[in-house]
Amino acid sequence: MTVVTAAAEPRPTIADHTTLLPGDEPVRILGTDQASTIDSGLVRGLYRQLVLGRRFNRQVTALTKQGRLAVYPSTTGQEACQVGAAAVLGPQDWLFPTYRDTLSVVLRGVDPVETLTLLRGDWHTGYDSRVHRVAPLCTPLATHCPHAVGLAHAARLRGDDVVTLALVGDGATSEGDFHEALNFAAVYQSPTVFFVQNNRYAISVPLSKQTAAPSLAHKGIGYGIPGVLVDGNDVLAVHTVLTEAMERARAGGGPTLVEALTYRIDAHTNADDATRYRTDDEVAFWQERDPVTLLERHLRETGMLDSDTERRARDAAEEMAADLRTRLGVDATPDPMDLFRHVYAEQTPQLREQQTRLAAELAAESELAGGGQ
């Protein structure tokens, strides 16, 4: 019998494994000396995006209340995560968002109306994923995580420099697909960054019922993936940590699991009644740690927030909001024939027949409507 020695495989020793563990405290930059070392152009850019992001959430929420969207899962309070995620992607990288991550998709450069078709209800995915390198907004929880691994793996097999960033919620880390994705990423050493926005709740279920782990970032070590814990309301920290993870992946260092501690200020969606499961005090506590206010405070204290910077940020946000009101304020007119167009590359005879039937129904309907005039 041959004895296989562990030396054949370059594995970290047990002692090395501790480097996979997150720190006891989340990484913070705002309010520390490190804050002043960050490029002021970058900081101002992140500020503009935060202001824009907050305005986006407010405007889309308002439009939803007016019945212009079917539903809106808001990221109010999580804008630092959304901004950070979009900002660290290179043009060739891919973003894998959930239903909640419309803001990061918009900040990635996708047209807001195209981004929101899912929630407006005129089509599922409104943008071209390949053009923008943004996967469809994913609703079945964590099921997009293996996709992010697969795409990164494929790119590496082809010798392309592509990193994938998978966004996922705290609740979704309980799903099997999340764990399978981590394991595949680790075994393949695929250039994938998993970014958990821990906003404390999965609809009504608090994190304490979701996991007994010391943190979600601790879930990395079991797969051999480094876990990093970051203050998700500190945009500088989020940006720094994600940048490091992306660079590591790009350099062939494999996947990273980043957990951002944040909070969902709004209800799960407009259809949810959050008073059933959380207190006003808790919400007020987190409003004190608002990501936009935190950065604003820093900018003021360091004299970086001149009135011009502030005004230009607000103007850009208002312009975006006005555009949203104009373009989402009218009824969408999706074509009923779209039901049949994209089910297969080539339509089955049965579908063709069904399409003909619907077309005939609609023709008869409009004839009836026309006949009444």
Binding site: A70, V71, Y99, T117, L118, L119, R120, G121, D122, W123, H124, T139, P140, L141, T143, G171, A172, S174, E175, G176, D177, A202, I203, S204, V205, K209, Q210, T211, D272, R276, Y277, A332, P334, P336, D338, L339, F340, V343, T348, Q350, L351, Q354, L358, E361, L362
Partner: protein
Amino acid sequence: MSGSTTMARALNTALRDAMRADPTVHVFGEDVGQLGGVFRITDGLAAEFGEDRCADTPLAEAGILGTAVGMAMYGLRPVVEMQFDAFAYPAFEQLVDHVAKMRNRTRGNLPMPITIRVPYGGGIGGVEHHSDSSEAYYVHTPGLHVVSSATVADAYGLLRQSIASDDPVIFLEPKRLYWTREDWAPQAPVEPIGRAVVRRSGTSVVLVTYGQTVPVCMEAAALAQADGRDVSVIDLRSLVPFDEETVYAAVRRAGRAVVVHEASGFAGVGAEIAARISENCFHHLEAPVLRVTGFDVPYPPPMLERHHLPGTDRVLDAIERLQWADDIERAWHAVSA
């Protein structure tokens, strides 16, 4: 809408009564505890019975159903909630390989008295993955009972029967009908699962349906009556077992049948029923059995769903295509004129 009670409330009462009557009944799933479920079907259960009896689980459907299997092996009677139709799919492996097969592979030693509640179907303006009608997957899996309620009274009765059943039951809740009201007071169920009900009796055509499309068929039947067609509506209530007796008796009498459901038609429940009617009532049929179903497409986005959902017009149209003698006469006159 008139009536004292919603279907949602009747389901809630059924769970409460079942939990009071039987301490082995345990309810669990996503958001079913403090929130009372996203549709409030489990409202107040955690408060009354404690978290051991009505529990929020981690967010993992395979885990929910897999632990239900273990609990059932130990003699408990789990009632689990899948939050929406399409979110039951991660549990499919547990369902097909274990829940459905356990009794058979253990020669009856390990029954699986598990109730799996699944809000199903569309018509509520839900975005992607919130409106599937997934019954065909379930009915095709031997070992599972599959039921669906269409009235407030049945919601209560069928859910109580499902929980009492020693076999696994997929309990499909027509979410579009959650807020329909009826005057109703809880009544202990008398019949076992598996009995269809004639909602409306007529002599010229039978509409066979269940769940979401029962009200559609009732409305179509009333409209057809005005056109001189005397229409029966059969609410199957249970897809597995399938109540052949009730269906065949009505079809033999009328000679014409249309099967109506919201799910896609191809290889759907309607195909099975139409085939069985053809096999068993052939000599009584005046026309081929027709189906009115959703199209064979992924469920459309909210703004397009009305084009997909079978409505009264499509049902009436199918009724008119059933080769009526007066049509034939009319056609004959047209040709000979």
